[in-house]
């Protein structure tokens, strides 16, 4: 008899606990956040340092203008830099943040999975159109006629070169290389090698932002035809580009170069900062770190050399803000997106973070066009390319990186490796 009493007690405690748990979870689902009836917008971002300050300022100004909306910002390490597992599981679990800071080049893939809220209607209502932004930024934010993201930043890539090193070896610091032959000649002069160790190295094609997309376009190649949906990693000019990179690697010894780059770091340990690397490809975001860690460094920037010395080009990426599928407070989220993407929000963010705005007039008003270094980055934007808007963007990126690694290390010819990329990405797209 005692036992049944005990059973009942345990059962009732158990039921009580279950009901409490259920109450908690339903509360979370309906309430959205702990602060009850306040209109709270949850934002996940991956920004630290100067851009971290910039986003805080944007939020502050937004909250001042919209006193009824409260922003709850959470830092999520590496979100958007190929590590979106947390966001992915949050969306799959039906409990995502209201706004996520997101790498634009992944928008298409996520939109295709139905994991982002379409913004087309909201944008139409509020008169936000393509005309507000750089064309490529808008394209990357859209997928199959629908808008899924509000673009926030952009960038471009150029050749950085150390003017003091140029003078030291008798090169004209005001006349940086424009053709590949000149680039190779300069690199050879600048390199100091002892045994298999580099004291200083002139140039490493794939270092920093020297991704294959940039080289392919600089050689006149192309990667994707949006009309036919054809993947063209093995475009003849792409193959030439990779062949050139491979030869460059062989000349200097790929493993010796790897030994050199493995010994380097970022920030103050960047070999360009420490004077161990004379030329590198980097984005405008690299300028901020040079200003911080090497304010006296005498350097210049110039378009990435091409085989012919003209038709300079570059490529641009950048970030955006999205509303994940199933977000609770979509109205509040849209208000924030709208503000972040507006001229005002862009000016606040760009001024502190030193990231380029996606709105041309903002970049002009912030004086980027007058700064001798930043102007070069801005001036090349009209010639800039954007990575293919496709559902397999991440796979394409990784496959190209693999092809460069394999080719430079003599594992298959550039032709073979790029054909493999075409095949792999085409197959993945066909699924």
């Amino acid at each position: 008899m005692n036992n049944t009493k005990l059973n009942k007690l345990i059962l009732s405690i158990g039921l009580l606990m279950v009901s409490v748990l259920v109450a908690c979870s339903s509360d979370e689902e309906s309430g959205g956040s702990s602060s009850g009836d306040a209109n709270t917008v949850e934002v996940w971002h991956s920004m630290t340092d100067t851009s971290g300050e910039a986003i805080e300022q944007v939020i502050e100004e937004f909250e001042q203008q919209n006193p009824d909306i409260k922003i709850e910002a959470t830092y999520v390490a590496n979100q958007g830099e190929g590590q979106n597992e947390k966001l992915l599981t949050a969306i799959a679990g039906g409990n995502p943040p209201d706004v996520a800071y997101f790498d634009r080049f992944e928008v298409a893939a996520w939109a295709a999975q139905g994991s982002l809220e379409p913004l087309t209607e909201l944008a139409e209502q509020d008169g936000i159109t393509e005309d507000n932004y750089y064309g490529f930024a808008w394209e990357e934010a859209s997928f199959e006629d629908d808008l899924y993201a509000i673009p926030t930043t952009t960038d471009s890539r150029l050749l950085f070169y150390n003017k003091d090193h140029f003078e030291e070896v008798g090169l004209d610091p005001e006349n940086p290389p424009t053709t590949l032959d000149e680039l190779e000649a300069a690199a050879e002069k600048l390199t100091i090698k002892e045994g298999n160790r580099f004291e200083r190295i002139g140039f490493i094609p794939w270092y920093g932002q020297g991704w294959f997309y940039g080289w392919g376009w600089s050689f006149g190649g192309d990667f994707y035809d949006p009309e036919s949906g054809e993947v063209t990693a093995d475009h003849p000019q792409n193959v030439e580009a990779l062949e050139w990179m491979t030869e460059f690697g062989q000349e200097y010894g790929v493993e010796d170069i790897a030994g050199f780059t493995d010994s380097q770091g970022s920030g103050a340990m960047d070999p360009f900062v420490s004077g161990q690397l004379s030329m590198k490809i980097d984005g405008n975001f690299g300028v901020a770190s040079l200003e911080k860690f090497a304010p006296d460094l005498n350097y210049g920037v110039t378009p990435i050399p091409t085989p012919t010395g003209d038709n300079f080009t570059t490529w641009s990426g950048g970030w955006s803000v999205v509303i994940p599928k199933g977000a609770n407070n979509q109205d509040g989220a849209w208000e924030f997106l709208k503000f972040f993407g507006s001229e005002e929000g862009q000016r606040i963010f760009s001024e502190t973070s030193r990231d380029f705005s996606v709105i041309e007039s903002v970049n002009e008003s912030l004086g980027y066009t007058e700064d001798p270094v930043f102007a070069e980055f801005i001036n090349i934007l009209p010639e800039s390319n954007a990575r293919p808007v496709m559902t397999e963007g991440s796979l394409y990126w990784n496959a190209l990186a693999d092809a460069v690694e394999a080719s430079t290390r003599g594992n298959g010819t550039p032709q073979e490796n790029l054909e493999k990329v075409t095949q792999q990405v085409t197959e993945a797209l066909g699924e």
Binding site: I10, Q113, D262, E405, R409, N411
Partner: protein
């Protein structure tokens, strides 16, 4: 438990029918209480282990992407895997690692345990020293060894330089990246060593005394007494080590930021599985990979178990 229940049953058979019923209800009641107490764990196991485990069998036949349920595509995932170059590369890398790491970890582990079993003053200190690396988290271990093996200023090449050898570019070379990883993994070998030490402590002293009386040398004692009686422990570590080696993930993933560089020489099976699941939206494909890995590990473990009859000697049998 079982004994008690048998006893109770036996008891009730001799007693009257009424008391038998009373006792039965008491037994049923107590096992119910047991289940009630275990319920949170039982529910947890079913919900968070058994259910995902078995549903992944189904998912491996679909294009499930975490975000969308996908379609049923039969064996297409498995067929595609057979034609996936990187899949085979990752299998090669994983087997390479397992084939070298597991035997080396046993040889070095046993040798180390035997050294740490000597009767020398301050042995507790030495044992602690060799166990300490096990306490270093994998991510810290990766960073530490990236510094040690750095070709420019690393300690390892510095020492090699001092004795006139030009060290290779360890982690930057396709040839040396996997050996480097094996070296790192061997450094954190403390856990099996502790188990070997326990095994050594289990060997009866009389056997050594008898061997001494027979005039056995140190070598003979090692190979005729110590090692045979250590085989149950070696067997255990072999199985666990093989399973662990096939699941190698944290070290190479942290070291290469998930890229498996250089030239995919550090792309291990589980790393590629992870990329498919969480980067390329191919959870179905990844589930298929997981089940292939499961079958491989099961087969391997079965082979080790079957062979164990020939070489594992249990005391008192």
């Amino acid at each position: 438990m079982k004994n008690k229940m048998n006893q109770a049953n036996h008891f009730s058979a001799t007693a009257g029918i009424q008391s038998e019923m009373k006792r039965k209800s008491k037994i049923a009641g107590s096992s119910l209480n047991g289940w009630l107490f275990a319920l949170p764990w039982v529910i947890g196991l079913i919900l968070f282990y058994a259910f995902p485990l078995f549903s992944s069998i189904y998912f491996s036949f679909t294009t499930y992407s975490i975000l969308s349920p996908g379609e049923f595509i039969g064996l297409a995932n498995y067929k595609q895997l057979m034609n996936d170059g990187l899949f085979w590369q990752s299998i090669y890398n994983t087997i390479y690692f397992a084939v070298f790491f597991v035997p080396l970890s046993i040889i070095i582990g046993v040798a180390l345990a035997m050294m740490l079993n000597m009767k020398v003053k301050g042995m507790a200190v030495y044992r602690t020293i060799f166990f300490l690396p096990t306490l270093v988290p994998h991510v810290a271990l990766a960073v530490l060894w990236m510094w040690l093996l750095n070709p420019g200023f690393g300690l390892v090449n510095g020492v090699l330089d001092a004795i006139g050898i030009t060290g290779p570019n360890w982690l930057g070379s396709v040839t040396w990246s996997k050996p480097s990883l094996i070296l790192m993994s061997l450094w954190a070998i403390g856990q099996p060593v502790i188990i070997y030490l326990a095994g050594l402590g289990d060997i009866p002293q009389e056997l050594y005394e008898a061997a001494d009386v027979d005039g056995a040398s140190w070598l003979q004692k090692t190979f005729k007494v110590t090692l045979p009686l250590l085989t149950p422990v070696i067997f255990f570590n072999l199985v666990m080590g093989a399973i662990g080696a096939f699941q190698q993930f944290t070290l190479p993933y942290t070291m290469t930021q998930g890229q498996g560089t250089p030239d995919n020489s550090l792309t291990f099976y589980v790393m590629y599985l992870y990329d498919n699941a969480f980067k390329y939206f191919k959870m179905g494909y990844a589930s298929a990979m997981a089940w292939i890995l499961f079958i491989v590990i099961m087969l391997l473990t079965a082979v080790i178990f079957l062979s164990s009859r020939r070489w594992v000697h249990y005391q008192g049998r």
